[in-house]
Amino acid sequence: MSPAALRPDHVRETVVEILLRHSTSGLARDDVADECPLIGGGFDLDSIALLGSILDIERDLGVRLREEDLTEEALGQLKGFVDHICRRLSAAHCP
């Protein structure tokens, strides 16, 4: 994976695109904010959409998430979720 792909802004952009693709909340791209929750508002993903999003994120970003990554805190806001993925990517590529 290229260094550019590891940049937080690239990760955020990819994650937002995937979440919007799976979301049925009608959230517009311009309205996406760091504080947007993934579930229970904001993207308002249900369990199937969340599962699909996670699998797409793993595939597109080449990151492996773990069960303990999916706490309510990690899924509470977009920024926290993206930060979480960035940390996993850094750990994987710069051990």
Binding site: D46, S47, I48, L50, L51, I54, E67, E72, L75
Partner: protein, 287 residues
Amino acid sequence: MRLPAPVVRYWTRGISPEILSEANYPSLYTYRFPLKVGLRILRGLSRTVTPCGRVGSFGRTALGLHGSALKRWHARVWWANYATELCKSLVVSGKRADEVFALLRPVDWSPLERLLATGNGVILVSAHIGVPQVVSALLCRAGRSPLRLNRWGVFQHPSVDVSQRENPGYLTQLYARAYYHLKAGGIVTNAPDGPFGRTFAEAEFMGRPVQISRAAVALARFSGASTLPYLVRWVGYRLSVEFAEPIGPHAASPEEWDRRWIQEYLGWMEHQIRMYPEVLRFALAYL
């Protein structure tokens, strides 16, 4: 043991026909007795019940029962409902779980062990019939706590923060975690029957159209884990843990995969309900 006639009338005519109501007085009353005594008190009461309400209607229309056959069938349903509630409260409270375990026939775990030996996790599905809490309790005792896809706090996998269970996103988050739990070879339990969640599939059950949540079938498809239906059912005064044939994974398109999974799952549940009156409980809400 004789109970005051007004009490019996109240339980057996006023409340019991609506078996799904929260009114659970018969099992609350028998809670004070040793379990084996409580079960016999309930058996005596069950014989005095007149089939009516939704249960009676289901017996007549869906199963074609009438007269004494309907009365015998209804008595078994009535007894098992409160016997199950009684056992559930004893197991869940944890204080008298051993009394329930003493009723268990020896359990053959080999169907579960065979699937786990492949390295993949297993989704144990029970439906809201029988006494499924017993299996979760047994797995916990054996150090194999399952990740339970429900809001109950008991018998939950220790990695799950059950203090968050009232939060709106709790179940959604649990499903995502379940995927990784299965990938790591863990056990997930679920009761996918009933119109819960936000995304449903249409299916047929007991000759009627019903809705079933797509979340469980999607979890099975995404994870590639086998689904193992199981039932904890009454055999006289004993409890028997029985596993069915595993469902999937199927090599098919997602739509076909989902259709087959739902068909096999509902087919298994329908078979149990037709075979054993004692398992008709919550599933009645489906009908």
